[in-house]
Amino acid sequence: MNLQLDSQGRLRHFLSTEGLPRALLTQILDTAESFSGVIDKSVKKVPLLRGRTVMNLFFEASTRTRTTFELAAKRLSADVINLDVARSSTVKGETLLDTLRNLEAMQCDMFVVRHNDSGAAHFIARHVRPGVSVINAGDGRHAHPTQAMLDMFTIRQYKGGFEQLRVAIVGDILHSRVARSEIHALNTLGAAEVRVIGPRTLLPRHIEDLGVRVFYDMKQGLKDVDVVCMLRLQRERMDGALLPSESEFFRLYGLTEDKLAVAHPEAIVMHPGPINRGVEIASSVADGPRSVILPQVTNGIAVRMAVMSLAMGSAADSESRGTA
């Protein structure tokens, strides 16, 4: 049984875009769209999660993701506690479970988890009591499903759908949980073609098995694409031997107006942020007319509201029935 779904196939935890049916991903996008009206009101809130408590559990530093999760929870009228647990390689297994039991004893209803170990959110989801939902806000190199869904929301907003689209994901695929979550979401939602572009050292072996076309050259890979998803060069994770230098990377794989010229004339440029100007993307592109980087941030709030309310809705129901 899929840990992410309840017995009726509803979203219970949101840990990965992998293995979720298209109808559910579409439901997340549709629900997010219905939350878009909330910011028109003088009271920018809905009372949906009033009286519930969301705990932001960040074992790894993050400003944007944590802030948008916090804002999403507050717009749903939930109470939010931010817990910045110091980054530590010893926070594993028993220790993580102990942390969890202590936090559960404070009667919260949802954990939003970011952790530098792949699988940390799954581990927590397997051990929480019934009625508690877990949202993965990024685990190691594994998954970052809410980022992928806000990217899907942005693509749908600008392109209308997925069926006709060629999408290129560019840069450090190897270390990127965003890339993995995007690939699964794009394939499930029926994108015509998903490409990955990067140097051999930053592309995982057998990445083709995920249903992507691999390119090592930017101009070949970007030819006629409708959407360009840039990735941040994960400098803090770089071992050193994978790249000659940042300027060399920019020369070959940095998105410039010149390289973008081979894409479809109406192609949009996305980036999960924070951007490294002059490393993976030129300022003229990041601030240019094709860039939808700031709309991505705005959309992140509505998408996280959707995921939180869907998961908490089914969790509340399963608790009242006494089943997990």
Binding site: D30, S34, V46, G313, D317, S320
Partner: protein, 168 residues
């Protein structure tokens, strides 16, 4: 047993009643807000019938319902759109069927998150009784006393038909 009621005459009757209530209260230029989905269909017709100048507003009250902890998020929620400022204005809230009053409670809560109207008036096509909250319609096309097991539903948007399914 299923009964179908044509609604054209019912809407005309509701519109005439609404006009006289507005005249009585000396409300010149009201805003009109329909509740998804049946209430919007009725509101579109009342709005045209009364020749109101401001655009029609729509509310989807799903995020304000009181049954989230029992059934979670409702499928197919549409964004609420109120293309005007409600502060200090007279608002006509429109729904198709008035039943327990819970929908109207939710709609009032949502409306007040947009601002502070001068007054709110409730117009419905049908009041079927069985209220669970202290809420009443100011304008009502038809009153029925239907037991809770019976179902009444407005089907639309074109044509509009009222369908009543009786258990007994």
């Amino acid at each position: 047993m299923t009964e179908l009621i044509p609604v054209d005459s019912l809407i005309e009757k509701t519109a005439a009643q609404l006009k006289s209530v507005l005249d009585e209260r000396a409300i010149k230029d009201p805003l009109m807000v329909g509740i998804h989905s049946g209430g919007v269909w009725v509101a579109e017709r009342l709005h045209a019938g009364l020749g109101l100048s401001e655009p029609l507003g729509t509310l989807d009250i799903s995020f304000y319902r009181d049954d989230f902890s029992r059934i979670g998020v409702h499928p197919q929620v549409r964004p609420s759109r109120l293309p005007f400022q409600v502060d200090g204005r007279h608002v006509v809230l429109v729904d198709d069927v008035l039943y327990t009053g819970r929908t109207i409670r939710a709609a009032l809560n949502e409306l007040f998150d947009y601002g502070r109207p001068a007054s709110v008036l409730l117009a419905v096509l049908i009041d079927r009784g069985q209220r669970e909250l202290p809420i009443a319609a100011d304008v009502c096309g038809m009153q029925l006393q239907l037991p809770s097991d019976d179902q009444i539903k407005l089907q639309g948007p074109d044509p509009l038909t009222l369908v009543i399914r009786k258990t007994a």
